[in-house]
Each structure stands twice: as C-alpha cells, then as structure tokens.
Amino acid sequence: MSTIKFSIITAAVGLAVLVFAHWFGVDYVYFAGYTILQFIVLSTAWNILGGYCGYVNFGTAAFFALGAYSSVFWYNFFPLPIPVLIVLGAVGSGIVGFGMGYLTLRLRGAFFSIATLALAVVLQTLVVNWDFVGGSRGAYILHPENLEIGSVSVHYIEYLFTLMLVLTVVALVTARIIERSQLGYGFATIRDDELAAEACGVPTLRLKLIATTLSGAFMGMAGAPFPYYIGYLQPQSAFALDYAVNSIAMPMIGGTQSWIGPLIGAIVLGSAQQYATVTISSAVNLLIVGLMLVGFVIIAPNGLYGLVEEQWRRRRRKS
C-alpha cells in the first residue's frame, strides 16, 4: 500500500472515530478517548527509538512533561492557539531529545535507559523549583467551555479530542513511512547489530540522533495539549510513572517491530485501564499493566502483532 493511500485510509478511520464520538454525544467518550489517543501517540513515539532502534527509553514522562510545561510557559507569557503550542512543544522536546541523544547514545543497553530515567528526575527537579510555571504548587490553565470558530461553537473537550486524533494520525503515518524507508532499514540494523551496521556503511550515530529527536518531538506534541485537558497541571501528574511504564508496556503488548503494534497495545491496554478506572478504581491501572505485561512476555514475547505474523509465516510455509 502506498503512503498516500495509507494516509487517506488512516485519516478516514480518524474521521469515522470522530463522527462516532459526536453521534454518541457523551462528554465522557471524549475524555476517555483523549487518554487512549494520547497513549497511542506516546507509545508510537517511544517505539521509534525503543522498537525500531532497540534503545529503551525510560524518560517518556520527561518529554511529555516538557511539552505540557512548554504550554504552561506560553500560557503565562502569551496565550497561543493549541495547534501552535503543539508545534512549540514538539520543537522543545525535539531539541531536548537531540541533546539527550548526543550525550547518552554512546551508552548501550541498560546504561542508556538509566540515563533517560535520570533526565526525567533532573527535569522534574527543575520544574518543581521554577515558580513561573507553578513550581510544586502546580499551574491552573483556564479555557472557555466552548471554542467559537466563526458561527460554529464546539465543546472544548471535543476540540481537544479532535486535535489528539489528528496527532495520532500524523504519528502513525510518520511511523509507517519511517518503517518502509531507508531510515527504517537503518534503524533495524542498529537494533540488530551496530558494529555490523557501521561496516555496511550505516551512519549509526546520526540515525540514533534522528530517532531520539523524532521520538522526543512526538512525545512533546502529545504533552502540549495536556494542561488544557486536565485544567490543573502539577509536576507529580506531568512526570507520573504511568507515562514511562505505559509507553513501554503498550508497544511490548502490541508488538515493537511495526507501527501497528503500539496502536494495538495502546487500544487494548488503554481501554482496559479506562474500564478499570470507572468500574474498580484508578489505582488498579498499574496492576493491570504489570499483569498484562507479564502475561504477554510469556505468551507472546513479540507482542500481538508478532504472534499473528508468526502464525501467518508458518501457514505460508506449509502451503
């Protein structure tokens, strides 16, 4: 399938989701849907570095919070439309992603992961001590109940949901383009064997920097509208462990070697969490993540997508 065809289909599915949510007509659908979409973007972003290149990033929360706090910063400074904030968040997180990559990519395996975790701690400390963005008290973001575009009035949460839907489509299309391009081959060689990759002429350091920048930028984009969604942003919620854990667990459950893995994982795990939040308690979330992760590591180490692909390959070999 060509990229254009894929983009059209993805956009059409996105539009269908939007129409369905509108037809459903309950605000809760937007609230719950927003969270799931946000995790699709986050886990897709994580997968660009973690799945394609094999570098496990524990610092998702740092990039997400950076996007969120960049919005708070601009809100205090000069209120801008959210799409602009998303771009600014992407630029900020992308730059930090590049910097982190430059400083840490000579580390391999667990050492790289520890460095990313440290980044989250450093940034959180910085934000807690920065009064302009609310410090440890947190910051309130006020938004109108409805967004007026000309004569049309849209419920604000519907607007946020739509933005996140667009971001999701962009993230998925980008991930798929990468996967099928020369860049994708390069990323896969880094995951498999960096020494052999260099011997084949792959500029591994440059590719890893592209991956950390792109991955960071998408995480920042996912974070930028967050203060508007939650209304009150504080460091503990922006830097929450959930983001790091979920954005690793979702691609693992869905499958890390394809764009579709994070999508499946985020829908499965995200929906289960939303369901548990409503029916049992929000504290069960991390328990669900843990149990599902353990289950999938045993049953399907390559995720749901890997499981299906393996079956398909076997069947084709038999016939």
Binding site: Y185, A188, T189, D192, L195, A197, E198, G201, P203
Partner: protein, 244 residues
Amino acid sequence: MTALLHVDNISKRFGGFVALDGINLEVQPGERLGLIGPNGSGKSTLVNCICGTLQNETGNVLFDGRTMDGLAAHQRTHQGLARSFQLPRPFHSMSLADNLRVPLLYTVHARPGQLRTPADVEARCGELLTMVGLASKAKQRPRDLTQVEMRKLELARAMAAEPKLLIADESMAGLSHSEIEDILSLLMELNGRGITIILIEHIMSAVMKFSQRLAVLVSGKKVADGKPEDVVRDPEVVRAYLGQ
C-alpha cells in the same frame, strides 16, 4: 604502482597490553594477501584499526591515496573498504535479501549515479544472492541458515558495498573441507573481478592456496612478509607457531 592500502607504523594498546606495535603493511591493487598469526597476535585488532572499528593511537592508515585517520567505520566503508566478521553478524530480524539491501542503500546508493530505482536495488540483491548460491533463500531469516551459508551471507553483504578492498576475517573457521573449497573459490572469483583481498585465516592449506603474499603477526609485531613458500620456512615464524 602505488599501494591501495598503506598501513604506516600503527600501534594500539588496551590498558597495559600492547596489541599492535608499529605495524607497517602495504597492499597493492588486485593483490591477494594472506595474514596469519597465532591466536591473540593482533590480527583482528589490525583489521579493526584499518576499518575504523577501533582507532589506532599512533601511525596512520592510507587507503586509495586518502588518509583514514579519524574517520568512522561507515565513512571508510563508503570509501571502498569492506570487511566480513570473524563470527558472522547478520541482521537477525531481516530476511537475507534485506541484509544485502542495507549496504546497497547506505553505501552504493550514496555514490552518485548508482542504484537509482528500487528495481535496481532489487536486481542487485538477486545478483549477489545468486553469486553466493543463496537465491532460493532470499526471503528466509539468517537463523534458518547453516554455518557455511552464514559465512557466504557475511561475504555477500561485504561485497554488496562494492569495495575496492575486502578483508575476510576468518571466514572459513569451523567449516568442512568441501565448504572451505566453496568459500575459497568464491574469494578467487571476487579477486578475478578486480577486488583486492586480505585473507585472515588459520587453515594453512587454504591460506597457501589463496595468497600471493603472506604476512605474519606475532604478539602485535609483523615478523615476516613475503612469498608464502619463503615465509612458512622463516625460522621466526616456525618458532612462533611451534615453539623452540
């Protein structure tokens, strides 16, 4: 004739251990050079210094008239230096065809006017796989291969970058007699196409058959360099291999 590869007084140490101690080596275009030495004599370290995996501390490497010092491994590959690894290091998650596609895309495609369309790349992949006799397994993964097939894939991948100089690091270790013949004839064929080859090997029958010239490393020093028949009779080489 100017040398294709000129290694000038290279030294490399790991902590207090001197792995290479002032190595000089010249390789002429189109030559087949055998490089031998006991285990731990520094053969692989020399290859790593020539190819940029390791950086030598003193001396320099000139390849094709250009200095290679400070260049990363991938830049040297772009200049026409290719190597195969002692233990095959295929890209496990990719099919054999994709394994070859990587150097084609990243090295050959990067040179102006070459492999412009995906169909060109596809065709070249096919040619390379046919050359090493793996065409029927193009869609399989490296884990489905036998040891000798893995070595062939390793050589095909090095060849895919269209090098001027190929360094084959122990590509026959652990193979049976007929398999060694297989690899040897493959290397001879490549040399026939004008590619200069450095063969690092422990299997003396193969080295003697293949090499036009033989260089011997012992404890990080080059102790002999010359015609194979003369070199194997050199008292210092005999001492290194058999003891006194």
